[in-house]
């Protein structure tokens, strides 16, 4: 079913249910907003994190196109920096936290991806009352994101969609309440949460909480990485898997890890011309046999998936390039010119002219809520990111707060499912709902599964081992902080001035002070300071956690959510 929307005065046909980002991308729109310095930005993360696809929708400024569902005729305009706030005749009465709509679920699960849904099912089966909140308009998270469109000529759901659907349906049938379109943006110790939903604000004071907020894709700070048409692999995959739209006609996919290969197969199926898949890790040699064998033993079906993706890639004419990375992106001939470099520093490689570049260089855990609560975290030197400290059941250092899945450090969807079962049962038990024997047996099975999936992941990432993510390919003008447009040169100048604390660099350069809350620049800056100053990274070496973890419209604070 299609619906007409208006964009900058022009009428466009959109599919009912797709995101505004998908509808505009399909119409060939690349630039969604302009920055303070006049640069164009478009869809980058595709998951509500980067704040670069902001548009005005029916007079409301700064709406994320990737998180706005087309469910009615809309008037949409490009957003610009610091536009006038629209008139509003009078304010709403001031309110207090006690005046907000309150929910007091026995168990709150934040995030309806594999980890969250699986935890909700386990806890519900053990007898707990469970409320799941998720920011997206449909449950499923990134891995199990559901098709938002259907109709003649639109590709039917695949096995991954169907597995997710079955899981969500099981949760709902068991009596788990899932509130989609609800962004948990505030977490306050010991156990208070604020969420925006239905145009208003919901306050939650659960007895126990499972944080399952997943991960987001890292940036790749090389010249040109902020240009419209450069987006994450996840963003492109969301366009295809939820809206059956492809991000461009000619696409280059570059990064590190198997998700890029899956995207290549999917976009080829969707009719895009994928010119190449560029993998930072070297081509697997004879020494990879052991790891491949370990993976095949742990999850043979995933190995089969990989082989199938490769077959589709080859059939679609997409080259596979190993040991190279994106070194530079420029605008050329109405599209992008992408120049590769040898991974780990070295020679310039081939260049490609494409409409869209997808970057999939790995993930950062979405640990904003656990950090805001004050849960203890440890720096994981192998993954070069913070991992929330927890016991074998997923309990963090704060009583009643669990963390599971990719928000604790990347483990993949299957590990997340197993962790969900384990933590769901543990949380229910802590709440006084002991699992009956068959359920307890499932918990034991989940532990065995988890060990297996961790073996798989360990072998997988040995296979995909690539040089670290840093500023080596950035030049002085390359933006490290996308939001505040802070270049590497500006950061170098602050360091040359003697600033050593990351907070001081933030206050001096404004890096990390923008709408995305430092999600892209913080890991880069923390690593840069650690290297330069010869000090270890730890849970305090990065930016201090700040709420709201996503920007929150002030009027929504004063309103009761629509049911």
């Amino acid at each position: 079913m299609t619906i007409e929307i208006e964009f900058e005065g022009e009428r466009l046909a959109a599919r009912v249910g797709e995101s505004l980002a998908a509808a505009l991308t399909a119409a060939g729109v690349r630039g969604f907003r302009t920055t303070r310095d006049g640069a164009e930005r478009g869809v980058f993360c595709g998951m509500g994190v980067c704040q670069d696809c902001l548009v005005e929708v029916d007079g409301r400024p700064n709406q994320r196109a990737c998180m706005t569902k087309v469910d009615r005729p809309m008037r949409v305009a490009r957003e610009a920096h610091a536009r006038p706030l629209p008139p509003r005749a009078e304010g709403l009465p001031p309110t207090t936290a006690d005046g907000l709509a309150l929910r007091t679920p026995e168990l709150l699960v934040v995030g309806a991806g594999p980890a969250g849904i699986s935890a909700a099912i386990a806890a519900r089966r053990a007898g707990a009352e469970v409320l799941v909140l998720d920011e997206r308009s449909q449950a499923g998270g990134q891995y199990y994101k559901q098709p938002a469109v259907d109709g003649p000529g639109i590709a039917a759901p695949d096995a991954q969609h169907r597995a997710g659907r079955a899981l969500i349906d099981e949760a709902v049938a068991l009596g788990v309440e899932i509130l989609a379109g609800a962004t948990v943006w505030g977490a306050f110790a010991p156990a208070e949460f604020l969420a925006s939903t239905g145009g208003g604000t919901l306050r939650l004071t659960p007895r126990a909480t499972i944080v399952a907020t997943g991960a987001y894709e890292r940036g790749w700070p090389v010249p040109g990485w902020t240009l419209p048409g450069v987006m994450t692999t996840g963003a492109a995959q969301t366009l295809w898997r939820t809206a059956r739209r492809v991000p461009g006609r000619r696409v280059l996919i570059a990064g590190n890890g198997p998700l890029n290969l899956q995207l290549a197969a999917e976009l080829i199926e969707g009719g895009a011309r994928v010119v190449a898949v560029v993998e930072a890790a070297p081509r697997p040699g004879p020494r990879a046999t052991g790891d491949l064998l370990a993976m095949a033993t742990a999850s043979p079906d995933l190995i089969m998936d990989g082989l199938r993706y490769h077959a589709r890639r080859r059939a679609g004419g997409a080259a596979m390039i190993h040991g190279m990375v994106v070194g530079r992106v420029e605008q050329a001939n109405g599209g992008l010119r992408v120049t590769l470099r040898a991974a780990g520093g070295g020679a310039t490689g081939p260049a490609f002219e494409v409409d869209t570049l997808c970057l999939g260089y790995g993930f950062e855990p979405s640990n904003e809520l656990t950090r805001a609560l004050g849960c203890a975290h440890d720096f994981d030197p192998a993954r070069r990111q913070l991992a929330v400290r927890r016991d074998a059941d997923g309990r963090t250092s704060l009583p009643g707060v669990f963390a599971i899945g990719d928000c604790t450090g990347l483990g993949g969807a299957r590990a997340a499912l197993a962790e969900g079962t384990i933590a769901g049962l543990a949380a229910a038990a802590d709440l006084g709902h002991a699992a009956a024997a068959p359920l307890a047996a499932e918990g034991r099975r989940a532990r065995a599964d988890l060990a297996r999936h961790r073996r798989f992941q360990a072998a997988l990432w040995r296979l995909y081992a690539a040089p670290p993510y840093d500023t080596a390919l950035a030049d002085r003008d390359t933006l490290i902080c996308r939001c505040e447009e802070v270049s590497l040169g500006a950061i170098e100048a602050a360091l040359a001035d003697g600033l050593t604390a990351i907070g001081a660099v933030k206050r001096c350069t404004r890096a990390g002070m923008g709408r995305c809350q430092g999600r892209y620049c913080a890991p880069v800056l923390d690593a840069l300071l650690a290297t330069r100053l010869g000090r270890p990274r730890d849970e305090y070496s990065g930016f201090a956690p700040r709420v709201p973890v996503k920007p929150i419209a002030i009027e929504d604070l004063a309103r009761t959510p629509r049911p």
């Binding site: 409301r60 304010g91 001081a504 002030i554």
Partner: protein
């Protein structure tokens, strides 16, 4: 200046300033500018200045009058100091040649009822008697100069002496000036112990010990512990306060806006961002005793802002943080400690950032053994009773 995060303090220094906030950096800069050898030690990360919002307050803040009615007399006596402090900010930043987004826009304290406006009228009368330029604006006159205010606002006090600056710009400029003047800056380490020795003072840190002829305590509420090391009572308390900042919008709010009866301060920075605060509580929490925000303050503070300025409702808050005010008795604690020769205290009164550079100048003058332009007797550290065991 080279990067040296583990910089040890010098073994000996003429004057040691403890605390690298607005007071400490300015005192050190003023001393270094006159050729004195000065070091600043700052424990880094948590402090009032780094979390400051940049309001230049002159009129008595209704927040303060409500919370500390017994201290109103002290603040009222200091009003001319606030006026002079704002003028000093102008002289100081002009001398630095720094653009810190300093704007004298005037400050509005809005009223939502006749009673509140009557309260403001009485306040104006007292302030004018003390030499401030303030007046009452009734609804029509007010909405002509501040059309962004909502219909709930029936009138306001306009204090012409108030304004705002961007503290990020100001702090960076002051730091560059101080280090350029020769101040030795030792960051990220605390003074654990302070003792008297024959040549003056001994300060012990995790990175070594420094001996100083003179010591200036400019550590905000941390001054209490340091002064106590030397048997001196400075009853300074930390007061963590909630702050919000929005994404950028076109210029809308020129004034520094406060409320006659409710805790709120809001203003728009040159970046277009709107800063909303005004005394909603935060707390010190977590394993590191960090100032931490509270949900109740966020909701109460921000929804009050959109009630007064309706258009703010459409802006999004992108960040909140806890600022750290220091309270003593409504007045600053400034100048030499008579009982301990060579020891000086530099803790400003309420709205410490406004008072910062001037207070620092006055204290620096006493360190330089010259009479300050304002008599510091009312602000003497000697006014507190003996240290309780």
């Amino acid at each position: 200046m080279s990067i040296d995060p583990g910089r040890a303090p010098p073994a000996e220094i003429g004057t040691l300033v403890v605390g690298g906030g607005i007071l400490g950096m300015c005192v050190a800069g003023f001393l270094a500018a006159e050729g004195r050898d000065v070091a600043v030690i700052d424990d880094g990360g948590i402090g009032g200045t780094i979390a400051n919002a940049g309001s230049l307050h002159v009129q008595m803040q209704s927040r303060f009058m409500r919370l500390y009615p017994h201290l109103v007399a002290g603040v009222e006596a200091s009003l001319p100091l606030y006026k002079r402090a704002v003028a000093f900010w102008h002289e100081f930043t002009a001398a630095l040649g720094a653009d810190v987004d300093l704007k004298m826009t005037g400050g509005l304290m809005v009223a939502e009822s006749r009673e509140q406006l009557d309260f403001l009228a009485e306040k104006v009368r007292r302030e004018v008697a003390l030499g401030l330029r303030s007046e009452i604006l009734e609804r029509d006159a007010l909405h002509r100069i501040a059309p962004y205010l909502g219909p709930a606002v029936v009138g306001a006090e306009l204090c012409y002496e108030e304004g705002k600056l961007n503290p990020l710009l100001a702090n960076a400029a002051i730091r560059a000036w101080a280090t350029g003047s020769g101040v030795v800056l030792v960051e990220g380490v605390a003074v654990d112990r302070l003792t008297r020795v024959a040549s003056g003072f001994r300060a012990e840190t995790a990175r070594g010990t420094v001996t100083a002829g003179r010591v200036v305590l400019a550590a905000g509420s941390g001054t209490r512990r340091l002064a106590a090391c030397l048997g001196v009572n400075v009853p300074a308390e930390p007061e963590p306060l909630h702050m919000n900042i929005t994404e950028a919008a076109a210029p809308l709010i020129g004034h520094l806006v406060q409320h006659a009866d409710r805790p709120i301060t809001l203003k728009q920075l040159g970046t277009g961002q709107i800063v909303i605060g005004g005394g909603w509580p935060a707390h010190v929490g977590g394993p590191r005793r960090h100032p931490t925000v509270e949900a109740a303050s966020l909701v109460g503070n921000a929804t009050l802002a959109q009630h007064i300025v309706p258009r703010i409702g459409r802006a999004r808050i992108i960040r909140t943080w806890a600022g750290l005010n220091t309270t003593v008795d409504g007045k600053g604690v400034l100048g030499p400690v008579p009982a301990v020769p060579g020891l000086f205290v530099a803790v400003p009164g309420d709205a410490g950032y406004t008072l910062g550079p001037l207070s620092a100048r006055l204290v620096a003058d006493t360190v330089l053994d010259r009479p300050p332009e304002i008599d510091l007797a009312p602000y003497s550290p000697a006014r507190f009773g003996p240290l309780e065991a």
